[in-house]
């Protein structure tokens, strides 16, 4: 009975595996709605841009290419920037997007401005099972996630129980990532998309033009913090003003991810800029090695009070439009200064 079950199970896996392998050769990879449009746009017009912003909504909705280029020009540096970010995009997804965008790039690249984030294992509830979560689950990213489960923590005083808890938290996410990897290999929904193209024709979708040709997405307007959210924020801000967040190097794999991005910038001949976005947290993830990179850290409210002023914030984690404009100018100014110091 057990032997029959094993044979049948193995035959099922073999049949599934062969079919998946054949499909992955025959069909285009899964395309994420917003990021896919940006990648398509860059494939067509990428040579027009020389500066790229990569990160989560804290870059997607907070770094405004027009303002950035104008501020850089005011400091004597000509740039044409593109916001290649997506809401919730963190490592290792950002590495995947960078690889896709720059794999065959030969045009001049001046700057890669990348949000400095550690590897994230949890998928957003909203994204799980969608093309957005599936598209980046390739074998290279699965290897990153796997290594990250067992990665050496870089904090010297971490207790064994905390290390074990961290490992468990990451390992228990693996089945979900495995599902997304299988779906990606099997090109989930792609044959259906092809059929749909035949049937319905081109669908009214969200292409890069709708996002603005610079990839920037305006934050939600009319939102200011209120009630208990504001009260809690003000309390946390007061505490953070006194005690800035400590630097945290997280683990070896998150640092390796930064190193790979730096290597990519080197290959493109671009200057690597890591940015730590402005929001309150007890510790800030930072690159352990800063050789050849510019690291801009906006995590200390005492240093950048205007970025933390409640009237410039949509919520504790994000700036509103006014705050984003201030932030973009500040980032541009600091990059221009850094380039002057180390051309």
């Amino acid at each position: 009975m057990k032997a029959v079950l094993c044979i049948n199970g193995a035959a099922f896996v073999a049949g599934f595996g062969f079919a998946v392998a054949a499909l992955s050769q025959a069909i285009e990879p899964v395309r994420a709605p917003q990021l896919g449009a940006k990648l398509d746009w860059l494939a067509e017009r990428g040579a027009e841009y020389d500066t790229f912003f990569i990160g989560s909504s804290r870059v997607h909705r907070q770094l405004i290419p027009d303002i950035f280029d104008a501020e850089m020009a005011a400091h004597g540096v000509r740039t044409n920037s593109f916001n290649l970010s997506g809401d919730g995009m963190r490592p290792p997804e950002d590495e995947f997007v960078m690889e896709r965008a720059f794999a065959t790039r030969t045009a001049r690249t001046r700057l890669l401005v990348v949000e400095c984030n550690s590897i994230e294992h949890m998928l957003d509830d909203e994204d799980a099972g969608t093309a957005r979560a599936v598209h980046w689950h390739d074998s290279a990213r699965m290897a990153v996630l796997w290594r990250h489960c067992w990665a050496r923590p870089l904090a010297a005083d971490m207790k064994a129980s905390r290390v074990a808890a961290r490992i468990w938290k990451r390992v228990r996410q693996l089945p979900e990532h495995f599902q997304h990897w299988v779906w990606n290999c099997g090109r989930v929904g792609q044959a259906s998309e092809w059929l749909s193209g035949l049937v319905v024709g081109e669908k009214p979708g969200e292409d890069a033009r709708e996002l603005g040709s610079d990839g920037y997405r305006v934050p939600k307007t009319g939102e200011l913090m209120s009630g208990k959210t504001l009260l809690n924020y003000e309390k946390a801000l007061a505490a953070a003003m006194k005690q800035p967040p400590a630097e945290d190097f997280e683990d070896s794999e998150s640092q390796a991810s930064l190193a790979r991005k730096k290597a990519m910038a080197d290959r493109l001949g671009a200057r690597m800029v890591f940015v730590s976005s402005p929001f309150l947290r007890p510790a800030v993830f930072a690159p352990a090695s800063r050789e050849g990179v510019v690291f801009l850290d906006y995590s200390a409210p005492a240093k950048f009070p205007e970025l933390y002023a409640p009237e410039h914030r949509r919520d504790p984690g994000h700036l509103n439009v006014k705050g984003s404009e201030i932030y973009t100018r500040l980032v541009a100014r600091q990059i221009a200064e850094a380039l002057k110091k180390q051309p």
């Binding site: 035959a11 049949g15 079919a19 899964v30 929904g189 259906s192 049937v199 319905v200 209120s226």
Partner: protein, 581 residues
């Protein structure tokens, strides 16, 4: 007006990957247990947890909120699973009461009590809004203003299905076709069994309760048949139904923008979608139940190949149509009377069947059209019984004619009142909205874009529900903001009946409302291929060969089949249509 600020939780679908893990656990433990009672207890617990998950959402958020008293953060309708218990407990006592009653009068009292309470609960949740809306319309017509405030009532998932299922038990005990079930576990298990609790098939007590008495052996399970049936159900729903929905959603959101060709294409797609969606769900439910050792009744038998509307109702949603026949049509007197009396019963049954689907006049029209067609078919059969020539002609046109009529009836069934946001009409003129119990939902993206209310934190840490939209009865619009504070004025663009009329004009009179086509000609090739596969299956050409091949080959092909199904499925699932009923 009171509105709930938190959206109802999202149900677990059989087509989701997480269901695979959940089912693996249920299945594994079920077959590891030796005693029949232990298995039933396990499945009963799983059924209630499964059903409960439809309402409570994420347990990691639900239970902390529940125990910390932060009830305003709980999903709307989180307490609805208690209705299932209420129905079970009540029917248990009703069954025993009927059997123990000393005279007919008391037996009648018990059964009427069961009918009143079961239908009362169903009626309140399903029809309160409809009733209130119509009474208000009558008041407005008389120039009066009602003094009571409207309630926003959410419909619990599956209430129509399990109410009918539990009623079948009381009615069968009353009719002495079934002894009262004195084992509470068996009855509770029958009513709550998770594969069918949300969207059927509506299982009869007479067919299910006897199955709870005997222990099923694993060797008696047709595993191969179950796995194939589940895969077929998955393909119907996730690959075909959800894809066809793309065309019908596009068209039915704005039929005035499309041609007559589009009306035909979209209506056929909707006919295909609703069949694939519902029969796919039924197939998966039947397969899941069989894998656990229980047999559910068949719900569909290739209904679109029916040669008459009478035959269609013998093949479509068979568990509901037979329920309506046995408990409503026959109770009304059936055909034991004059011709007019029979036709009245037919019409009443179908209209009430229409209302069972949803509280809207469009469903009444749908039911009435079917009632009308059943009457016409009866008369036609009687008149042409002796004419052999007509029978020959009908042989060729009966199936397409029946399908055409069914397709026409799907139009009011599908038609919604369509709203648009006047403030934002310029920048998204194509955006059409449909009203749900939680707010206005985008017809294309199926997302709630204008919730009626949202929860806001107060200074003291408590949350309160703040209305975002209010109804201006004089102007006939909803005014307020979207969830991000952007102003919105939502008005009715066209009623379901206006929409129905437009589609019918295109279908019957070939009227082009515009020149645009909703899809290209390639669709007909694909639809043709689907119909061919369906026809071959109806003739059993596709249902035997896989039983004859060796097990390892079957497993291998099943694996390859799943890989293909994943490639052809729509990435983001749509909710099952019948969950809303």
């Amino acid at each position: 007006m009171t509105f709930a600020a938190v959206e109802p939780a999202k149900p677990i679908l059989f087509v989701e990957f997480r269901f695979l893990w959940i089912f693996a656990l249920i299945f594994g433990v079920n077959w590891m247990l030796r005693s029949n009672t232990a298995r039933k207890v396990w499945l009963l617990v799983c059924s209630h947890v499964f059903y409960g998950c439809f309402f409570i959402g994420n347990p990691m958020e639900f239970f902390p909120n529940l125990f910390s008293g932060n009830w305003s953060e709980l999903p709307t309708g989180w307490w609805f699973p208690s209705l299932l218990w209420f129905s079970t407990v009540m029917d248990y006592y009703v069954g025993v009461g009927i059997e123990d009653a000393k005279d007919d009068r008391r037996r009648k009292l018990w059964v009427f009590g069961s009918l009143a309470v079961n239908l009362g609960v169903l009626g309140f949740f399903k029809y309160y809004g409809f009733f209130d809306q119509n009474v208000r319309a009558v008041f407005a017509w008389l120039g009066l203003t009602p003094s009571w405030k409207p309630l926003e009532v959410f419909l619990p998932y599956g209430i129509s299905f399990y109410t009918f299922q539990s009623l079948s038990y009381s009615l069968e005990v009353y009719r002495k076709k079934l002894p009262a079930e004195r084992n509470f576990l068996n009855l509770a298990f029958f009513i709550a069994f998770f594969p069918q609790v949300v969207a059927g098939p509506i299982v009869r007590a007479m067919t299910f309760l006897p199955q709870t008495l005997k222990k099923v052996e694993w060797s008696s399970i047709d595993v191969r048949g179950c796995l194939v049936l589940f895969l077929i159900g998955f393909v119907k729903k996730a690959c075909v139904g959800d894809r066809l929905a793309e065309v019908s959603d596009l068209y039915f959101a704005a039929p005035e923008n499309y041609s007559a060709y589009s009306a035909w294409a979209a209506s056929m797609c909707y006919a295909g979608q609703i069949y694939c969606d519902f029969s796919g769900y039924s197939d998966m439910a039947i397969a899941v139940a069989r894998l656990l050792g229980y047999e559910l009744c068949q719900n569909f038998a290739f209904p679109y190949f029916s040669a008459s509307i009478t035959e269609f109702w013998r093949r479509w949603h068979m568990s509901l149509s037979s329920w309506l026949r046995d408990y409503l049509y026959i109770s009304l007197g059936g055909n034991r009377g004059s011709k007019l009396f029979t036709y009245r019963n037919l019409m009443l049954t179908m209209v009430l069947g229409g209302l069972w689907h949803g509280a809207s006049w469009t469903f009444v029209v749908w039911g009435a059209m079917h009632g009308f067609a059943l009457i016409v078919h009866r008369e036609w059969s009687r008149v042409t019984a002796a004419a052999a020539g007509i029978a020959k002609v009908m042989k060729f046109i009966a199936v397409p004619l029946t399908f055409f009529w069914v397709m026409l009836t799907w139009v009011p069934f599908r038609a919604n009142d369509i709203y648009i946001d006047r403030d934002n009409a310029a920048d998204n003129a194509a955006k059409r909205l449909v009203r749900t119990s939680a707010g206005f939902q985008d017809l294309q993206e199926h997302k709630l874009v204008y919730p009626f209310a949202k929860s806001v934190e107060k200074k003291d840490g408590q949350t309160e529900s703040v209305a975002l939209l209010s109804h201006d009865a004089k102007a006939g619009v909803w005014k307020g903001t979207d969830a991000d504070g952007k102003p919105a004025t939502i008005r009715l663009h066209q009623t379901g009946f206006e929409l129905t009329a437009k589609v019918w004009q295109s279908l019957v009179l070939f009227k082009d409302h515009a020149k645009k086509n909703v899809c290209g000609n390639a669709k007909w090739v694909l639809l043709g291929a689907l119909v061919l596969v369906h026809w071959l299956n109806s003739r059993s050409y596709l249902s035997k060969w896989w039983r004859a091949i060796p097990e390892w080959l079957f497993s291998m092909l099943l694996g390859a089949g799943w890989a293909l199904a994943l490639a052809f499925k729509v990435v983001a699932y749509k909710q099952f249509i019948y969950f809303q009923f």
